[in-house]
């Protein structure tokens, strides 16, 4: 391995560089080796699997190494609705989560600064959903939004929902669940940047006769951009790959199945490994491209 040429760190003038390099190597090697074995090579196996062909005359789930580009064409065309739903639902859920979270983060980070106890109590409440099982809190919403629930009865009584309407099993319920489940991921990074926001900039805005809305759009939002970027990424990426909310037993139906549902079904039920692998690679590639473009556009490359 080429770890041999470690340069000495700025803090370590007193020590000979070679000795430092051995320590750094000993510290790095086990963990990096682990990540290569259980993160990098699995991705490569996924790529190899995605090109496999069916074993002629073989059983279900038996494949041979091949270079079948056709797998990508077939799975992308067969599962195009799932792909579009995954990124569409994730996008809408991310926007909703941002709209819901920003005022919460702003209040905790800026307005509640004078009361540290209130601040930490509210932060605890924001992360509280993390401590109850992800699946159970989604199932709780399924019951609350179910056809027999008072919520649905009330919506029907005021004719917002037609008499034969449902909430569960609709795109609305799936997006609702995605939004709810990832709100803490959005709120925390927003809070971290807003907590450091220098309120003198806001005073400067109003001194220069900007109304509160202009000050918010021209001062607060640009200054909290790092939080907005990491919050939207932390929400969008898991939401695009999620298959719990869209699953039939949870908030979705067969009409709301997302890319994650297709990957799960092909891998674990149908044993159609090449299709599952090709869909996974598509998901990963689209996310990496979107993230790359998004981060570059917003000019915060140092975030990565």
């Amino acid at each position: 391995m080429a770890f041999a040429a470690f340069a000495s760190s700025d803090a370590a003038v007193t020590k000979p560089p070679r000795r430092k390099s051995t320590i750094a190597l000993v510290l790095l090697l086990p963990g990096i080796l682990y990540m290569v074995l259980f993160f990098l090579t699995p991705l490569i196996s996924l790529v190899i699997t995605s090109f496999q062909a069916e074993l002629p005359g073989g059983d279900i789930g038996e494949y041979v190494p091949a270079l079948q580009w056709q797998n990508y064409v077939d799975s992308a065309s067969e599962y195009l609705p799932h792909i579009l739903r995954a990124f569409g639902y994730a996008l809408v859920a991310t926007v909703f989560a941002l709209i819901v979270s920003y005022p919460i983060a702003y209040y905790i980070g800026v307005k509640a600064r004078r009361w540290p106890l209130l601040q930490s109590m509210m932060l605890t409440l924001v992360i509280a959903p993390f401590f109850i099982s992800f699946l159970l809190r989604t199932l709780a919403w399924k019951q609350i939004l179910s056809d027999e629930s008072p919520v649905v009865q009330a919506l029907k009584a005021v004719a917002i929902l037609p008499a034969d309407g449902h909430l569960t099993g609709t795109p609305f319920a799936v997006i609702f669940g995605l939004t709810y489940n990832f709100i803490p991921f959005m709120t925390l990074p927003l809070y971290t940047t807003l907590e450091r926001l220098d309120t003198r900039f806001l005073e400067a805005g109003s001194d220069l006769y900007a109304n509160p809305a202009t000050t918010f759009l021209k001062v607060t939002v640009p200054l909290s951009m790092p939080g907005i970027i990491s919050g939207t990424l932390l929400t969008f990426i898991p939401a695009a790959g999620d298959y719990i909310n869209a699953s039939r037993d949870f908030l979705g139906s067969s009409k709301t199945a997302m890319l994650g549902n297709a990957i799960e079904a092909n891998f674990l039920t149908l044993q159609n490994y090449p299709v599952a692998a090709a869909l996974s690679i598509i998901l990963m590639a689209v996310i990496l491209i979107l993230v790359g473009v998004y981060v570059r556009r917003s000019g915060t490359e140092d975030l990565l």
């Binding site: 340069a7 803090a11 990098l40 540290p116 003198r200 898991p238 695009a240």
Partner: protein, 286 residues
Amino acid sequence: MTAPPLETSNPSPERAAAPRPRRRFAGLGLPIYVTLALVFLLIPIAYTFVFSFNDSAKSNIAWRGFTFDKWLTVCNEPGLCEAFGNSILVGVVATALATALGTAIAIALVRYRFRFRSSISLLLFLPMATPEVVLGAGLAAQFLALGTQKGIVTVILAHTMFCISFVVVTVKARVASLDPALEEAGRDLYGSPAQVFWRITFPLLLPGILAAALLSFALSFDDFIITNFNSGAVDTFPKFIYIAAARGIPAEANVVASAVFIIAILIVVVSQVSRSARQKRLAKLG
């Protein structure tokens, strides 16, 4: 960006008075909204907790009266306590492994300069930017290719992998805030490298390491997607719920989730109180 000296720019008294009347109306909307939003976030938690006391028969959907029984006889539900035990075992082992490996990486990344530094950072960042379903399917494809039998070991291997990145991020911040002069002082006083590490570096890093371990355990305990791809016939607590969801969740699952919730909140509150007490002590000293 540096803040210009704004205080002196407009010394007129009207400026201080101007925002007052607006704040009386606009200032109330935000707290009300935030309160409602926090209540909204807590609804499913309250629901889960309340329905852990439901005197339900098979599925736990309609309210059929209050009972403590489910709390007292949790393990009567077949498979539940076994799945819970598996979750604890996986969480503890994966956390220990990930914390050890990740802390070592974090120290190396902050303290030493070496080649391939940016590729190593990328290797550690990528798992956090990869959807869980891809991580899960990738590992499952690798175990399939190698002919590995899926079980609790493969679950532990998978969980350790995604926890390492989070440990590195958490501990790195702590290492970066550490004053190297303290370790130099230790070396100046003829401390051996091992002594300097265990007597100075490690105690100073401990809060960061503990935070990373707690985060790892929480991530591992609640993980479903990666587990589902790599567990074979073994159930963890989330997988138990996923399988039960098709036929109706027993109230006993709500009991386990509520108990875990209470313990987790207690840990958070205790650590917050002790931290603020420590800060007060330090403020007094300073």
